[in-house]
Symmetry: C2
Subunit: 501 residues, 2 copies
Amino acid sequence: MQERLDELKSLLGQVQDLNAAAAVLEWDQETYMPDGAAEARAHQVATLRKLAHEFFTADEVGTLLEALAPETQALDPVSTEASLVRVTRRDYDKALKVPASLVAEMAEAVARGKQTWRKARAENTYATFAPHLERLIALNVQKAEALGYEDRIYDALLDQYEEGMKTATVETVFTDLRAQLVPIVQAIAESTPPDASFLHQPFDTQKQWDFGMGVLKDVGYDFDRGRQDISTHPFTTSFSITDVRVTTRVNEQFLPSALSSTLHECGHGLYEQGIDLALERTPLADGTSLGMHESQSRMWENLVGLSRPFWQHYYPQLQAVFPDQLGGVSLETFYRGINNVTPGLIRVESDEVTYNLHIMLRFELEQAMVEGRVQVAELPDLWNAKMEEYLGLRPETDAEGVLQDIHWSLGAIGYFPTYSLGNLMSVQLFDQAQQDLPDLENQIASGQFAGLLGWLQTNIHQYGRKLQALEILQRVTGQGLDAGPWLAYIRQKYGAIYNEF
Amino acid sequence: MQERLDELKSLLGQVQDLNAAAAVLEWDQETYMPDGAAEARAHQVATLRKLAHEFFTADEVGTLLEALAPETQALDPVSTEASLVRVTRRDYDKALKVPASLVAEMAEAVARGKQTWRKARAENTYATFAPHLERLIALNVQKAEALGYEDRIYDALLDQYEEGMKTATVETVFTDLRAQLVPIVQAIAESTPPDASFLHQPFDTQKQWDFGMGVLKDVGYDFDRGRQDISTHPFTTSFSITDVRVTTRVNEQFLPSALSSTLHECGHGLYEQGIDLALERTPLADGTSLGMHESQSRMWENLVGLSRPFWQHYYPQLQAVFPDQLGGVSLETFYRGINNVTPGLIRVESDEVTYNLHIMLRFELEQAMVEGRVQVAELPDLWNAKMEEYLGLRPETDAEGVLQDIHWSLGAIGYFPTYSLGNLMSVQLFDQAQQDLPDLENQIASGQFAGLLGWLQTNIHQYGRKLQALEILQRVTGQGLDAGPWLAYIRQKYGAIYNEF
């Protein structure tokens, strides 16, 4: 068995190396690459990804997995060996189920779809994008059929991003969440908003950058195994457990932008840096799902970074950096200002209260499309109607409505709900951390984050992909997915800020 | 034929992509990679280089080359098609001649050799490095025998870096050069050196960087297809003709360091950026030899960047940037100061006059070692004796003598002479450029570099590897390799600075 395991690890190591190299090239493309290199870079990344796919789907890998499955049966399922064989087998089966012709068709449809979407959004012409979306939905249906599913066709698509999660589970949780959240948002919309005007003035970008770097260091992001750079769209990427990089953006005219993006990506980065080094160069060396990943980014961005204790510690420092802008703004005013809730049309600009409504809308529509209950032509009207129902706002153009996100043009169906799953899980997990670490709030208020980070590493990060998201949730909290804790957190926090509800 | 050519290009394109990806990873390693990532990165680069080698040496490539050789025979030898088949065939034959076992042995010897060399240099213990050097020489002899040669064993090694060049040619040229250069250096060493003390004082590093960036733009380095970063050891790398990057270093206490390294790497970079875009993603998209590459870097660094016309244009700007340090230093004093010649023990710190003597010494010793005329144990004494003979200096320690360079520890034998070949060719080519562009000196004196760059692109850069270095030299100057022009340039320039000879 050991010999076969070593051989498998060597084959998978090669695949990891190729994918890591592609990730380095993509990181470089977003940070430092000169503009003129785009075409050559596209060739290079395509070659690396193609070879990684070929090597991963080789018969050799299948034969080894076949032989190793019974041999590792008796092992502890959380052992590296058993996990490696089990998880790789799932990946392998999925990779083989989708025919190369469909992968190629999808790639072509995405290339065209993305280009058309950009133009359609800029020119507000949904009709030009519609046929592309139609094709992308049809290809996703084909893909779902190829991947197979037991209950709902959407299960197969969701499983690509959130392994082990079922459509029915998400639906139940979201229905409950929506029913309770819409009235909260309505109540907030009718309340007097806190003053947030002081956040909109010039803040020196270098000083913002330096402050963010200090916070990254403080919370435990390891700069010996990572770095932060600037990019248009912030992201986290990982080339190995020892090289996990984040990017951020800095908005001179709006203070919260840089720090929230830094803490968000930091949360992703801490997850990747916290994976057991024994899993290096294997497919286990990754976050277990997009939802669990997002639970980490949102925990640091919102539950920590928008909390009163966090700013009890940092606000005096921030005031010292920006005395002209913040010298006359009290901690309480600052705290309320950064937690200002304003229902808006655009998902990526939305606050932590309204965000999930944007997601639910997309989840309902994309699910209905793959199930054939909604046609692409009906989409703009349905979108607008739901926006009005959930957020009390109606987009005036499709550009600020159905055309606003890139995801569908990339053929990514089943991706959106993971954002909300992350939000919900972040509170379920944070509640447990607070129970296990009764002193946590005080620690944060004195700038001590090692307790929380250690708890996350022990309970979540170290496992990589050994455990699925719902397994982690169950082990850590004793519960399944539940919107209750998130709703309770929102009610408590925003009830205090908006006295009216 | 077209179909086979397309197939060959597609196979070679994949190899280029893999090597380009490895180069991106290596660039990242020297510029931005966090320290903790070293081991993972080594795996990644090794995988990419191994796959590139495997794909390049595939039977398929050989079969296509076999079929295409007669088919492209009738074409213009400088056509892309004929060149591609001819040059790839040479690379392919060489790659197949060296057995994989020898490649692996060499890689292991280099890994150990490099590590031991670092320690030996730090601790000044040649004896610990000697057995490693012995092994590296023995493996180089095996490699040379595997590659094959007609006249001299060293030909096979030299040919790896300077294709088409013969040991006998280098020997003849170097013998002539040495005979004339030693007395020049002696005369200079006995003269009164110009004042260079003003170069050694604090110069703000950001201002030095900005000045260098301005010069890069002025001379025509294309930032849409390249960029400059900081690294410990400056280098140039290329991931495609549209992505050629340079690095530099900035020494706060010594002004010439940054600008000379910027102009040196810029010369390499302009060469790579000037290659015909039709050669993209083929093995032809590279400089034709290390010597020709060095001719470009040394031309910009020395013939342009240390010339009087260049500083007639730039010195007032530099004085404006550093008024405190240079306000009271005249152009003539500055020009003489940066052209100060001081024989020293260390090659990488040497000036353009003494540099070639450092190279000749190494060439003679490494050649004698592979021919079995000199034993590794005799090396330190021989080194020191030659240093005394050529430069009038005797190293007190092996660390500043035979142990100073990394090259031999990397198993690179046949590499050193290309530095001097570059110096000699740079003047042969520049003389021709001056004949073809009678106004060149005035252009440089007014900060106009398009004339020179266009001439280099037309006569050298565009060809990539279509023509070998000696073919280019012959076509452009009508001459073979010749030390005469370089000696004449040195006599004229330094005769004026050092009135005594």
